[in-house]
């Protein structure tokens, strides 16, 4: 009782199939603070907050709320204690309306307890959205028809609806645009005033420094320390997270771009983008920046043949190519690394070996039969080249960390000897150390003459990696900048449509 900390977690341990995700973490936080939790992938951040939210059961340790020990074995129990979470993976029901998703489990009922009062439900949902500054979403729309960022806002509204005492936000910003992020930060400030405890997990350190009152660093399932952002430098924090200093985050490249590998002329697709023209040379990295919903991803998918274009031309290596399917694109030497690696990039239940060789089966076959030997040696060499950990090619991809999964996708396209790589948010949800590794891999590829189209909503990444940067807004290409011209301000102003 003598402790002033509202939330105390003592000696929290958690094992998943033999690996220790948390090895005795002591964590505490007070009401009315924004407490950020940072760390590399696999450091245990998500596990820690999931235990608090009742989504995962701990193996050992005590949790005290307001000085009293509590059991948090189900989400319902956590919720009754005023703990709500926005988890990393979406927890919405796609075919149900915004109203029902926000009010799930607490739909207003008439006098009969099991009878849903729909008009009141819609009104309540609207009020909730308005109350937190997210008005403008039609509550009668099924969430599957909302944009990803609106879905995320519904997710947040759902968690905030009951005015929780503890609000957990696990990577809430990954899919939000800058403007929406502002709204989220405003909401966080408002909740703070109402003395809510907010636990904020993010890989974006800029964001963490802006929003947090205190920052706790986890590493390999242990708590490294808690610091205040005013008294700490980013570099120092990164050192705590990775246990060592990072070299140059963005590698230098020296080889000048070679001949043109990709040319896109007046490419359009109904509803998503219009009149896109640009080119890409061998050994060049071109950044494509835009806010969420600007059509970046659709352009990439069109070039890769995953979606049809309505008009315009695509030239790969000087030849007209209008890829009708990803198969055509892969044949022409184009590879796509998608935003959502779990859905589009990997077969989670396959081994590293099978995933890496998936796009080059002919190359590892003899007389039309797979050659285990060829497969093993070729995959093994890529695994070493990219230092995928663990370096066991039979390990299932499902068991790898996010960063290593991303490396497996890269290895797949490396092995297929792609001439051109489209990378769509290659470092989303990846920890800092792996990010740097991925940057070096991308840079290496460019040095070897691969043309890279880098799509990202992280400005530092675009600025640090690209030779040229393109900016898209509302389905149109609105700017092109050389490395010298590009700065955070110019790109952002261009993407947001602000005239300078």
């Amino acid at each position: 009782m003598e402790s002033p900390d509202f939330l105390q977690m003592r000696g929290i341990r958690k094992n998943y199939d033999g690996t220790q995700a948390l090895r005795g973490v002591d964590f505490s936080a007070v009401l009315g603070e924004v407490h950020a939790i940072v760390g590399e992938n696999g450091a245990g951040k998500t596990t820690l907050v999931k235990i608090l939210a009742g989504a995962v059961e701990r193996n050992a340790g005590d949790i005290l709320l307001d000085g009293r020990p509590v059991e948090l074995d189900t989400p319902l129990r956590a919720r009754r204690l005023g703990i709500r979470a926005v988890h990393q993976e979406f927890s919405l029901v796609p075919h149900l309306t915004v109203t029902e998703n926000i009010l799930m489990g607490q739909m207003p009922t008439s006098r009969l307890k099991w009878w849903v009062d729909w008009p009141q439900a819609h009104r309540r949902a609207e009020e909730i959205l308005e109350g937190i500054g997210f008005a403008g979403i039609n509550v009668r729309t099924p969430v599957s028809r909302l944009s990803v960022s609106h879905q995320q806002m519904v997710e947040i509204a759902k968690a905030v609806a009951e005015r929780p005492r503890v609000l957990i936000l696990d990577e809430p910003s990954a899919v939000l645009s800058q403007e929406e992020l502002r709204r989220l930060f405003a909401l966080i400030q408002a909740l703070k005033q109402e003395s809510t405890l907010i636990l904020y997990i993010s890989h974006r350190l800029d964001e963490v420094f802006e929003v947090a009152d205190r920052i706790t660093v986890l590493k390999d399932g242990e708590l490294v320390g808690t610091v205040r952002p005013q008294e700490t430098e980013q570099g120092q924090l990164i050192k705590m997270m990775v246990g060592r200093t990072l070299g140059e985050i963005y590698p230098n490249r020296h080889t000048p771009p070679g001949e043109e590998i990709l040319a896109v002329k007046n490419l359009s697709r109904e509803d998503s983008f219009t009149d896109i023209s640009f080119s890409l040379a061998r050994g060049e990295i071109v950044g494509l920046f835009g806010l969420v919903g600007s059509g970046r991803t659709q352009v990439a998918r069109c070039i890769f043949g995953a979606e049809p274009s309505t008009s315009g031309e695509i030239y790969v290596g000087g030849m007209v190519a209008r890829p009708k399917s990803p198969r055509d694109a892969v044949k022409a030497g184009v590879a796509l690394l998608t935003e959502d690696r779990k859905r589009d990039g990997l077969v989670m239940e396959y081994s590293i070996r099978d995933n890496v060789s998936l796009a080059s089966l002919r190359q590892v076959s003899r007389w039309g039969f797979l050659s285990r030997q060829k497969q093993d040696t070729q995959v093994q060499s890529k695994v070493q080249e990219l230092s995928i950990r663990p370096a066991q090619i039979r390990r299932l991809v499902r068991q790898l960390s996010g960063g290593n999964q991303q490396k497996v996708v890269l290895a797949k396209w490396l092995l297929s000897q792609a001439k051109m790589l489209i990378l769509d948010e290659p470092t989303r949800g990846v920890d800092v150390a792996t990010k740097v590794e991925i940057y070096h891999i991308i840079s290496d590829l460019a040095e070897r003459g691969v043309g890279v189209l880098l799509i990202s909503s992280e400005l530092p990444e675009i600025l640090g990696m690209s030779d040229r940067a393109l900016v898209m807004r509302e389905g149109r290409l609105v700017g092109e900048f050389t490395r010298a011209q590009a700065s955070e301000e110019t790109l952002l102003a261009c993407a947001a449509g602000v005239v300078q």
């Binding site: 989400p75 927890s91 919405l92 029901v93 149900l96």
Partner: protein
Amino acid sequence: MQISSSSSNGQGGRVRAFWSAQVGRLFGERSRRHWVDYGFMAAFVVLLLIAASASDVFFTQRNVSNLFRQIVTNGLISLGMLVVILTGGIDLSVGPVVALTGIMASGLQNHVPLPLAILIALAAGLLVGVVNGFLVARFKLQPFIVTLATLSAVRGVVYVYSETPQTPSNPAFRALLGGGFVGPVPVAAIIMLACFPLVWIFLNRTTSGRAIVAIGGNEEAVRLAGINVGTHILLAYVISALFSGIAGVLLASRLGIAQPSVGAGYELDAIAACVIGGAILGGGGGGAAGVFGGVLTLGLIDNLLNLFNVQSYYQQIFKGFIILVAVLARRKER
């Protein structure tokens, strides 16, 4: 939005905007969804037209009343099937449940009063649903496998109970339920028709119904919302067994005899009716109104082809065709 903002200049623009809005309403994305959702209606209308132009028997009272009696069984089973499909599951064990309740209701009335006999039979059917639901909800087994197992086991139980057909002795049983009429309308059809709005209300207006609909979309989300997922999955299988049970009792009553072999392949007809009516296997879509359309469409096909003396083999081909068309039409939505 773009249409209205781009053409707000001048009279011509406004007229164009009006018409493009009308066209948009008819053929736009939202209405396309409606066309697809009620695609069975188109099939239905076409079938009716064929019937009207080619057969003078079809619109007789006798035939229409026959048609409704024929779809009672599939109508009831399909409703239960829908509830299970909405949770992302499937219930293959409906056929044997029909046989079980039919034969028990027919056999038991020789020993106990009729209402009690029917209640015991229905309770036995419910038990199958409890077993299905418990195994799926508690042990997270795949519904396909679980109900495949009970499909086989319950069929065995039926034969253990009685190897020979049972003839219900109580004349009231026949006269009242399966064979009874209110005016020109069969009693069994009234029972079935009444069940559709009931299920609709259950799914749309009650908290349990909404939970069931949500589970098929994202089970984890429902769990995290603090709703008991297991209970609702169990409830879905119990509801399915209940409807199969009612169907079994009505069928035995209409036929005047309960065969232990009855109900083979019923699960397929029910799944077909759900799919034609817009239900998505694996959860995430479907409703009672659609299923009613599906049941009616399948019933019409059977009825019409019978009237035209088409061999039942052709009926099966035609049914298969309709199912494929139904899922093809909905393909984009997934």
